[in-house]
Each structure stands twice: as structure tokens, then as C-alpha cells.
Symmetry: C2
Subunit: 301 residues, 2 copies
């Protein structure tokens, strides 16, 4: 197999493994799969889960597409025209219980016919209610994955996530962040191999991390008021994804399969005019924590 | 009064009149007002209605802002820098009853310190279920308003609305269209005066048209299934407003008051993966009518 096949085959296996693991954690629903083909070349496997015991709606998408580089992509990425190849796995999960956070993960590989190639990806968590113990757990796991490759990765990619997952017009981060990276291109084969190992480690970290967050929170009781707050937070998630998210823009701009791209949207979202949580409430505390540069690993209660 | 004051004062009066009329039609809720000031100059009156008998959530916003032209505006509008002045009224209404359509109206005036100035605006209706009688009524009213000024207005501005209120990634129009126009700049005082008269006539047309659509449909019985369909259609409305709407982008890009800009978002919206209405259902019929160049005035059942 060539490099493109090796990577896309591994991503396909990751999709299988994650779907299986999420079905186990959910215990009730299973993924439905839609295979699709891209008219310009390639295709994908969209897998969506709905009405689960834990997972209210979510998707684990795999794709591997190729062909002449669309004008908009070449322009946006400042690339010469030519043939492109892109493969990746994208995940977003919305949960029944407001105490279980929304999670997002993406790992991707891009290659041009002129030899330019890079990895990108990230993983971030959006709690409806921020629980410091969970935030510390999540960032600690990510730091361990990063540190096993390079001590510079976590601080760099954590900051990148803070900057990327930011809802400018709300002056709020989307959630507690995580890591984000793009255009990781090895200067030689050894560095390329390290980036590829890193991307695989990020992909592999998703399932144990999210299964733990589910286990900790899925049986917690919640009130109608808490569910209503969840709907408002999902409204913000919609705002981020439709206004700022580059993957969504890229997909919609290049006439991608809209049902696959927009699987990230929640089952239900609410908007209330100028809603302000009560001072001292858990909702207000969550808002106060939605800012850049929160150092969860240094959080001391 | 100078031209800017004359126009903005008239717009303020229009806001008053429309709010009063909508409160009458609703019969239960009243608007709450937030006055705000823009740090760079000017401000507005945001008026929002929620939890009405007819109107579930909506806003009638007036603003008149001015100051040094923000870089992004100058660039987007291909203008020289300098001072700008912008005033307008914007309305979006989401309804309790899925048989009452969503409506949007905007009238606006823009002027630069170098003398460049123009009017823009539009009015369009987004039924959750398209009722041909209502669509014909609506377009007939708009055509009469247009024709009293120029027989070329309706066909031109109707097509502009079809092109503007289009959700490219869904290959669907947002609703049954209406009229849309921008950068109407008179070549002399007489033409300027005509455009101003036209913009006032569009503004004045809103209330009787929407009051009639409310009266026709507000007491119709509806099922839970129809309410669920309404939530899905609102999801599309969110997609249009956050991905394509120029007023929303303009507002968010220029650090506008986000709660005022995003009053257009519905109280509740749903997304289901790849939802396909049953063949022959009213939902499927509505989708079939959501395409450009529908000639409602030539519709013969």
C-alpha cells in the first residue's frame, strides 16, 4: 500500500473501533451507515446514531476523497491547482443527559499531487455544565498523549484549541478546549513518521476518554431546568459550527454531502433573547469558565 | 432635519407602529425594549417579543449607527474609508402555530461621508407548510406595492429575493421568497425621492400583510407531527441566517450587539439526520415548492 492507502485504511479501522465502543457505552442504539460517493472522486462512510440511551444524536464519519483541487480549496489553502487527496475521521456526539459533555474529534491527512502533505486534527469537549474534575481528567489525558511525543505539543496545541474553538461574537470559548493542530508536515521521513504516530495516538485516545466521561455522568439525575440550559448551550454550538468552523465551511463551500457535514448539529437547540443565568448559579459558573487560557491542569478548586 | 435624521426618524416611527400592530395581533405578549449604544457612535432600540399567543419569539429592531467606517465594511462594500451612517428596521417573527409562516422584513439606508448613499431592504416569508393561497396573496400584495412605483420593480426584486434567500448547500429556497433590493442609489434628487417613497411603502406593507397571514392561520389546529416539522424547518432558517445572511455576517464581523443581531434565531430548532418526508405528504409538497423561480402569481393550483 502507498502512504495514502495506509493512512485511509487505518482511519477506516478507527471509525469501526470507535463506533463499536460507543455502541457499547450507549447500550441501546446502534449506528446507521450511509456509504456515499463523491462525483469528483472518492467517497465516505457516514455513521449516525440517534435516540440512544446516552447518545441523543451524533456521527462518526470517515471519508477519503480525491480529484482535481476545487478552486475554492486551492485559494483558501494558498495551493497551486493539481490533484488533491484528503482523508479523515470526524466525530461529534450530543448526549441525552446534560451532565455528559458534547465531544468532538477529528483526525485528517491531506496530500497534493506536487508532494505537499500534512496532518491536522483535534479533540475538544463542550460540557453543558463544566465539572472541574472532568476538565482536569480530560486535559491530563491529552497532555500524556502529547508528552509521549514531544513536551512542546501540549502547550502549543492546547493554545491552538483555545484560539480555534472560540465564539468571537459571544466572547466565549466553545467549551473547555482540548488540542488542535493543522498542517503538520514532516521536514523528513522521520518527522513525518512521528506526526503519523501522534495522529494515531490522538485517534486512539478518543474512546477511553469519552467512555470515562460517559461512565462518570450518564446516570446523574437532571432537572427540566438543566435540560433547558443544555438546549441553550447547544445553540452556541450551532453558532460556532455554522459561523466559524473551518471544516464545515470547507465542506459546504466545496459542495460536500451536507447531511454528512451537518451531522455535527444537535437534535434540538434553543435560543432565548439575552438570557442571563442567576449570579452564583452553576450555569453562571460555567459561563465564567468559558474563556481562553484556562489552565485546567493548574486548577486548584 | 437633514436627510439622515429624516430617514432614521421615520424608521423609528415605523418600529413603533409595527410593534403596536403585532401586539394587537398577538393579543397576549408585549415587546420588551433594550436601548443600546454603539461604542463607535450611534445605537439602537431592540424590541423582542417572546411566549406570545401567536408569536413564539421575534424581534423588531431599529438602529442608527455612525462613525469611522470599520475596515471590514469598507473592504466588503468596496468603499473608501471615511465616516459611515447606517439606519434601518429589521424584523423576524417565529410563530407558535406551524400554519402561521415565519416572516422577515428589513429596510435600511446607508450613507458615506463622501456622499455615496443608498437604500436596501426586502421582505420574505418562510412558511413551515406552503399554502398556495397565502403565497399568491403575499406576492400579489408585494407586486401592487412595486407596481405603484415602477412595473420593473417586482420582477427584478422578486428574482433578487429568489437568488438571495437561497440555501445553496440544501438546494432549497428559504421559503416562498418575496422581494429583495440593495444599493438603490438615485442618479438625481427625483430618483432618490422615489426610492425613499418606495422603501417607506415596503415598510408600511409589512403590518397589513402579516396581520392577514396571522388572521388566516392562527386558529388552525395542528398536531405534534406538524410542530416537529416546524422545528426542522426552523433548523434550515438557522442554517441560512448563520451561513449566508449578509446582515448577520456584517453585524457579527463588525462586533455588533450579538443579542440584537441573533434575535432572528428561533426559540427551538431541530435537526434529524437525513430526514425525508413521505412521498405525497404536505411536508414533501412544501419541499417541492422550495425552489427558485416559482411564479406564485401564475400559480393555477
Amino acid at each position: 500500500m502507498n502512504r495514502k492507502e495506509t493512512i485511509s485504511t487505518w482511519f477506516m479501522g478507527l471509525q469501526d473501533e470507535i463506533c463499536k465502543g460507543l455502541e457499547t457505552s450507549d447500550g441501546a442504539a446502534v449506528f446507521q451507515e450511509d456509504k456515499w460517493e463523491r462525483p469528483g472522486g472518492g467517497g465516505g462512510r457516514t455513521r449516525v446514531i440517534e435516540h440512544g440511551a446516552v447518545l441523543e444524536k451524533g456521527g462518526v464519519n470517515y471519508s477519503a476523497v480525491h480529484g482535481p483541487t476545487p478552486e475554492k480549496i486551492a485559494h483558501a489553502l494558498k495551493l497551486d491547482a493539481g490533484e488533491f487527496f484528503a482523508t479523515g475521521v470526524s466525530i461529534v456526539m450530543h448526549t441525552q443527559n446534560p451532565w455528559v459533555p458534547i465531544i468532538h474529534m477529528n483526525v485528517r491527512y491531506f496530500e497534493m499531487s506536487n508532494g505537499v502533505h500534512w496532518f491536522g486534527g483535534g479533540i475538544d469537549v463542550t460540557p453543558h455544565y463544566i465539572l472541574p474534575d472532568d476538565a482536569v481528567f480530560f486535559h491530563d489525558k491529552l497532555k500524556r498523549v502529547c508528552d509521549s511525543f514531544d513536551p512542546g505539543y501540549y502547550p502549543t496545541f492546547k493554545k491552538w484549541a483555545d484560539d480555534y474553538f472560540y465564539i468571537t461574537h459571544r466572547k466565549e470559548t466553545r467549551g473547555i478546549g482540548g488540542i488542535f493542530f493543522d498542517r503538520l508536515q514532516g521536514k523528513d521521513e522521520a518527522q513525518f513518521a512521528q506526526y503519523w504516530q501522534f495522529v494515531q495516538a490522538v485517534g486512539k485516545s478518543f474512546l477511553p476518554v469519552y467512555q470515562e466521561l460517559i461512565k462518570r455522568n450518564k446516570d446523574k439525575a437532571y432537572t427540566e431546568k438543566e435540560k433547558q440550559w443544555q438546549y441553550l448551550r447547544r445553540g452556541r454550538y450551532v453558532e460556532f459550527n455554522l459561523v466559524y468552523d473551518k471544516g464545515t465551511k470547507f465542506g459546504l463551500d466545496t459542495d460536500g454531502r451536507s447531511e454528512s457535514i451537518l451531522m455535527s448539529l444537535p437534535p434540538t437547540a434553543n435560543w432565548k433573547y439575552n438570557h442571563q443565568p442567576d449570579p452564583g448559579s452553576p450555569e453562571q459558573q460555567t459561563l465564567a469558565w468559558l474563556n481562553k487560557d484556562m489552565d485546567w491542569l493548574g486548577y486548584a478548586g
